[in-house]
């Protein structure tokens, strides 16, 4: 079985400050890793994913995440946040050999960017 722990339920930060949203996972098998974002009153959207290769993955809007296999972590970072980044962020994993598209989500981290 797999589980995902997002260590912070809420992260307040000022505009243009750096931010890190922490994610740890537990799994007895190899997994793919994802970060999804949910803006207010919208559905979840894929932010970035790690399937293989370079352990550092980037999104088009400046977020990056690094897969650390030894620490079973996939923390999300952004060097300078904007007001528009205010949203709920979900870390998720899925077994590589699962055979179907089942995502196991963490409880989410609410990022609040203040002016």
């Amino acid at each position: 079985a797999q589980s995902v722990t997002q260590l912070d339920s809420q992260v307040p930060v000022f505009e243009e400050a750096p931010v890190e949203l922490r994610c740890n996972y537990s799994s007895s098998v190899s997994v793919y890793l994802f970060w999804y974002v949910q803006y207010p009153n919208q559905g979840l959207q894929l932010l970035l994913k790690y399937l293989s290769g370079s352990t550092l993955v980037e999104s088009i809007n400046g977020f990056e995440a690094e897969f650390n296999k030894s620490q079973t972590s996939f923390h999300l970072r952004k060097p300078s946040v904007h007001i528009s980044d205010t949203a709920e962020y979900f870390c998720a994993v899925t077994p590589i050999s699962g055979g179907y598209n089942k995502l196991i989500f963490g409880a989410g981290t609410r990022l609040a960017v203040h002016p």
């Binding site: 055979g99 598209n101 089942k102 995502l103 989500f105 963490g106």
Partner: protein, 114 residues
């Protein structure tokens, strides 16, 4: 292009009643998945359907059922509603069944059970 559409957006039911939620996937997507998101928690996997067949099921009781139609739209049915079924029900579509691709989520159907 239309994204994943879900209906109804909000509904209120009483304990013991039955509910049907509907989902239309993105055009060309053949897989539909259903998730339950209880307030303050992350989404939990309920079902995945691909080519009208159930391909995966989460840890939910038999009161939960679903089906997929020839046009790839889907329905989620919940019988004998309990207070604990109150949640946002999310539908997600993808082109294929495998887990390397991106899931596209709808905005959800918010169910309140009184």
């Amino acid at each position: 292009d239309a994204g994943v559409t879900q209906s109804p957006t909000h509904l209120i039911k009483t304990r013991g009643q039955h509910v049907t939620l509907r989902c239309s996937p993105i055009s060309g997507h053949k897989s539909v998945s259903w998730y339950q998101q209880v307030l303050g928690q992350g989404p939990q996997f309920i079902f995945q359907y691909y080519e009208k067949e159930e391909r995966g099921r989460g840890n939910f009781p038999d009161r939960f059922s679903a089906r997929q139609f020839p046009n790839y739209s889907s329905e989620l049915n919940v019988n004998a509603l309990l207070l604990g079924d109150s949640a946002l029900y999310l539908c997600a579509s993808s082109f294929g069944i495998l887990n390397t691709g991106e899931l596209f989520f709808g905005e959800g159907s918010r169910l309140t059970v009184l």
